[in-house]
Symmetry: C2
Subunit: 174 residues, 2 copies
DNA sequence: TCATAAACAGACAAGTCTGTCTATTTATTC
DNA sequence: GAATAAATAGACAGACTTGTCTGTTTATGA
């Protein structure tokens, strides 16, 4: 939190998450991060480059949280339960803001391929995470898909209802 | 396609879908719709009001397409198959642009509650659609959730892979 | 044909945006 | 302590944004 780069990244995380990417200006970021504009452009060539740095930063943070939250669980059922509890946990923590990656996806134009690649890579990692914990199986993909929609519906309705429903569905099926 | 209002709505549909809401300016809309700015503000008080009109317009169109695509199907299995085929159909038709409603959701700020309400209402209608065709059941919610993520993953990866996977999952379960 | 309505073009205000630049101050290191 | 590096503030260019406004032209209907 002491060096400019970290302050920028932390502030951008907050603002992108709260207001969206296109609605958040560089000026607001540097104001709230208490960083001069020249310093900003010292660390990041452009806003899009900041976006990519932010997504990588967010990726590291989010996965670390998910790992920590599910690490100690051993059984398959328990793991799946826990994974949906993680959504509830993050919804509360971050006020139903949904997925940073999908939020930015919606704002991309065709020429922002570099950003798209980071988003795809994040989601591939998530899918792999489930395949590692549940064996590469239809179930892993199933959980991935329900996990994705559970996050989005939480954001849309600012509610955990469909997270609980997802858990019900899985319990019924397994 | 002949009166200004319809031209605006059609052009906005295209541009919002292609470029996103915040990245599309009024000026571009009126240029491409070949409508004077004064005429635009005759029909819509503000850009946000256009957004709401667009979403209602899109809602009507999209649901009509979905109805038409699934109307003649009788059995439960066939209906579910058909519903996922509809995603593939729309992906091809609209170049993997995903869901207009969720795309705009990501761009909303806190004060745009009126727009949020239209999006929620659309998704409630979709969920009701499944509950009507499949009886109010856990299965209906299940299809709704997989349907949602199938659309999003199509957009993200510009591929139907996870739509096919969703069908596999459902076939395995039923 | 003439009055009314609906469209047009486009200038303008007031604000936003990203990115560049100059010039100054604060830290760090030899 | 002097030289170098890293930070600061903030003006500025140029392009964009939404929304208002004036004035002109085209359609419509009696």
């Amino acid at each position: 939190m002491d060096n400019p780069r970290a302050r920028i990244l932390n502030t951008a995380s907050l603002l992108f998450h709260q207001q969206g990417y296109n609605s958040t200006g560089i000026n607001q970021i540097i104001d709230e991060a208490k960083v001069a504009k020249a310093s900003f452009y010292q660390y990041f060539r452009s806003k899009d480059e900041l976006c990519i740095a932010f997504l990588r930063f967010r990726h590291e943070y989010w996965f670390a949280e998910l790992q920590a939250y599910t690490q100690h669980i051993t059984g398959r059922e328990g793991f799946i339960e826990r994974v949906f509890d993680f959504i509830i946990h993050m919804n509360k923590k971050e006020n139903y803001r949904g997925c940073s990656f999908l939020n930015i996806l919606s704002e991309l134009s065709k020429d922002q391929e570099a950003i798209l690649a980071v988003i795809q890579s994040h989601k591939n990692d998530l899918r792999n995470f489930f395949e590692n914990r549940l064996e590469k199986s239809l179930l892993a993909t199933h959980i991935y898909l329900l996990f994705e929609s559970a996050i989005i519906e939480s954001q849309l309705f600012k509610s955990n209802e469909l997270v609980y429903k997802s858990k019900e569905i899985i319990n019924y099926i397994i």
